[in-house]
Structure formats: structure tokens, C-alpha cells
């Protein structure tokens, strides 16, 4: 046990990796609650793919990566909305067309521009190669995202629960919608270095999904999501060291393991509880 924890912690790159993973997971966990509740999980998936052309162009032209990612994410969301409103296509179909097209474009642009970042690194991250400057940037983004979301969490809760009510009480529904989109884009960029734009989607959905199965109160859900995400990040990085595996996928697999346990064992919404409840309900009929 001591070896499992203390040995990796004595190494500088492991310390950085853990700090990075924890910072990212806090921001992603808070955001994931809203994505899950608002039914935006697929939107998160789509945008994490669609930011690729924006990131490549930003790298090639020396612009801030966040800017490129946000522009591409916004384009994806607006194009999806336009397609589903102006054709007979359902929204998920429109989303699938747009994000796969943009992802393809991103890979094409990558081979055209020949930037000095590996594609593999953008897609899957390189948490063991981060610098303290990267960690600082991620920390700043995580802090910004958390602050904005937590300050507006009541508004976002109303928006997710009852958009019609949100509108009638005069909440800026459109601004909140795009605000959430901006935060989604910047958190994806924050996750770029750590787990890459493909695996970040796991951090953006799993903590919220697990917390949703475990809690019946909104604030409790936020806390549970953060605690689970941070725990998974730390455990994932430590496990990857002793297993000699890639840290990003290991974090994702820890989250999946927790999700499966929760799905089966959750006190009120788990499979086992439902099974017992159904059996108890049937028993009087037999007797």
C-alpha cells in the first residue's frame, strides 16, 4: 500500500499528473451534473469531437486554443440547431452529421497544417508530459468554470428542470444556454492535455450520471459528483503507475467501474434495490 501511494508521489511528473487530473475532474464533475440533468450528454460528446478543427486552426495560427475550440463548439451547436429546425431530421441525427463532419475536417486540417503537436496527444492526452504551466492553466480554467456554474447553479437548475418556468420568471434563457456552451468548450480544452478531447467526455458524463443514481437533492448531487470524480482521478493516476498503463483511460475505467457498482447497488435507484422492491411487492399475493 505504501508503495502504491508513496512511490509515485515522490516523482515530480506524477505529482503534476495528479494535481492536473484533480483540477480537471472538479470542473468536469460540476458541469456533468447539468449536462446529465439537461439531457445534454450527447451534446457534450458531439462538441468534444467538433472542437478538433478549431483546435488545429488555433495551433497553426498561434491563436489561443480556447478561442478556436469555443468557435468550433459554437458552430457545431448552432449548425445542429439550424439543421433540425429547418429539415425533418431529428436533433440527434443532425448532431451526428455535424460533429462527425467536423471531426473529419479537423483530422484533414491536421495533416494539411503539420503542426508540432501529435494528433494522438490532442485526442487522448498526455498527462505524464504536462508542465506546471499547463497545470496552472487548467487550474485557472477549472476555477473559472466552477465559479460561474456554482454562482448560477440555481438558475441553471430551473432551466434544466422547467425551461418554460425559467422563461416566464424572466431568466435570460438564451444567455444561460450559450453560457453553458462556453463553459463546456473551455472545460474540453482544459481536458485536452490531461485526457484528450475524446476521453474527456467520460469525465463530463460519468460523475453526473453516478451522482444522479445516488442522490435525491440537487446540492447533494453536485457534491457526490465532485467527490467521485476526484477519487477516480487520483486512483486512476496511481493505478496507471503500478499497472504501467496510460493514465487517461485508467481514470475512465475507474469511473466506469464505479458507475457499474452504483448501477447495481445504489440505495434507492439501483438494480438490486428495484429487484428487492418488486419481489417484496409480489410476496403478499402469494401468501
Amino acid at each position: 500500500m505504501r508503495e502504491f501511494i508513496l512511490e509515485p508521489l515522490s516523482l515530480d511528473f506524477m505529482q503534476q499528473a495528479i494535481v492536473m487530473a484533480v483540477l480537471l475532474s472538479v470542473a468536469a464533475a460540476v458541469l456533468s451534473c447539468f449536462l446529465v440533468l439537461r439531457g445534454w450528454a450527447l451534446m457534450g460528446d458531439a462538441i468534444s469531437h467538433a472542437v478538433l478543427p478549431g483546435i488545429v486552426i488555433a495551433y497553426a495560427s498561434g491563436l489561443p486554443v480556447v478561442l478556436g475550440a469555443f468557435a468550433a463548439g459554437l458552430f457545431c451547436s448552432v449548425a445542429t440547431g439550424y439543421l433540425s429546425e429547418n429539415s425533418r431530421l431529428k436533433e440527434d441525427t443532425a448532431m451526428g452529421i455535424v460533429f462527425s463532419g467536423m471531426f473529419g475536417l479537423g483530422i484533414l486540417l491536421f495533416s494539411v497544417f503539420k503542426i508540432d503537436v501529435h494528433l494522438h496527444e490532442i485526442l487522448f492526452g498526455d498527462i505524464l508530459g504536462v508542465t506546471w504551466l499547463d497545470t496552472l492553466k487548467t487550474g485557472a480554467i477549472a476555477l473559472l468554470a466552477c465559479t460561474v456554474i456554482l454562482l448560477r447553479r440555481r438558475d441553471l437548475m430551473v432551466l434544466a428542470f422547467d425551461p418554460q418556468h425559467a422563461r416566464t420568471i424572466g431568466l435570460p434563457v438564451t444567455a444561460l444556454h450559450y453560457g453553458l456552451l462556453v463553459i463546456l468548450s473551455i472545460v474540453i480544452v482544459a481536458g485536452l492535455k490531461a485526457v484528450g478531447i475524446i476521453l474527456v467526455i467520460s469525465l463530463l458524463i460519468a460523475p453526473g450520471a453516478i451522482a444522479y443514481l445516488l442522490s435525491d437533492q440537487f446540492d447533494a448531487m453536485l457534491w457526490v459528483a465532485v467527490v467521485i470524480a476526484v477519487f477516480s482521478a487520483i486512483l486512476g493516476v496511481l493505478l496507471s503507475f503500478s499497472l504501467d498503463s496510460a493514465p487517461g483511460p485508467t481514470i475512465v475505467l475507474v469511473l466506469m467501474a464505479i458507475f457499474i457498482c452504483t448501477f447495481i447497488l445504489a440505495p434507492r435507484h439501483g438494480l438490486l434495490h428495484r429487484f428487492i422492491a418488486v419481489r417484496n411487492a409480489r410476496r403478499p399475493e402469494r401468501g
Binding site: R154, D155, F161, P163, R167, T168, D216, Q217, A220
Partner: protein
Amino acid sequence: MTAAVTFEDYSIGYDRNPAVMHLQTVITEGSLTAVVGPNGAGKSTLLKGVTGSLSPLSGQISLGTIQCKDISYLPQQSEVDRSFPMSVGELVAMGLWREVGAFGGIGRAFKNRIAAALSAVGMDGFARRAIGSLSGGQVQRALFARLLLQDSQLVLLDEPFNAIDAGTTADLIDVVKRWHGEGRTIVAVLHDIEAVRAHFPDTLLLARELVAHGPTEKVLTAENQFRARQMCEACSGPPHTCTRHPL
């Protein structure tokens, strides 16, 4: 009598397909109006048009002295996500939003008002319960408590008594009548014609177009109801085949 909501050649719908066409009428301030009509007559769409969440396809709607923020809206039960992790207190507190704001905590005074609203709908002591643990009727009571706290001049109710028990319906009708007594304007989409006759002085009969609007006993004649059904059947084809019926 002053107008609370005025419709002028008003058409509204989704994706450019009108659900309600050429509506021309006035809902007076302080009236208690039931909106009735066959399925697909555009009743719920009309309420969404009044809240402003759908823009008119053509024509105009004006709200007189009522501000957009002074409208409260009860969604259909099926639109309420009961698996949302939220307590009854949090749900009801949404009615106080304009006063609390996003940043403010919910202090003791607010908590007392939430408790009072819950008590007024017969839900004493439910504030900490999760909404997922409530029955359909209890959710509807909680949503009425939220409306109580919103304290609006114009109250829009979309099928408020659908699929809830008789006791709850009776209690909630009392709440509606109290609002009417306080001079608020209430518009409710309803299916139960007997309840409309018993409790709603005014009725707006809709079949994608206006069939009749006025005192309930004059509107809910057998002839009008038959005509409403016929008009809706005539309109159930593609929208462009739907022509205007002579009134």
C-alpha cells in the same frame, strides 16, 4: 372591462405549421376562463404563445398592462421530470425566484413563506421530501404552491386536474377560485366539460380556430361542440388544405 390578453388575427404553431389560426378575441382582466376543444385543437400551444416562449406566426398578441414577468404557468404533468433530484421545498422556492435571485440564499423569511404555501395546498411538512417520492396529485399540489408564491396577475394552467384524484382536484379548484376572488386573470386548459360548467364562468372553445368565446353556458352548446369536432377533423390533414371556416 379592461383586456388582459388581446389576440388579433393571431396564428401560432411549431415549425411553421400553425396549430392555432386567425384567433381574434379578448380575455378580460379578472376573468376565469376555461380553454376547451378536441385533441390537437391547439389549446396548450395557445398557452405557450401567451407566455412568449413561442412567437406568433402572424397576427398580434398584446398583454395590456400585464408585464411578461407577471405571468405564471403550470406545465402539463407529463412535462414535469419527477426523477429530477430536487426537494419539494426547492421546487416551491422557484416561485420566489424574482425576489431571491440566483445568488441569494433562501433565508428564514422565505422558508416561512414556502412552508405557508405548502400548507395552503395541504402539504404541511413536505418541504424536505424528494419530488421523486410524491404521487401525481402531490406533485400537482406542490406546483400550485409554486404558483401561489409567484403571485402573478395572469395565471395559465395547462390541464391542471388531469389524472389526479378527486380530493386533490377539489382542493386545487378552491385555490383557483380564491385567485379569481383576488381579481387575477386565470386561463386553464381543461378536458372535463362538467368541471368547466360547474366552476368556470367563461369558456373559449378552440378547434385550431376560434369556435366560440363567452359565458360558459352559451359557448358549450351541443351545436358548438359538434362543430368544433368537425373542424378539427377537417384540419387533421396537411396544414395547407385547412381553409378558414365561416363563423
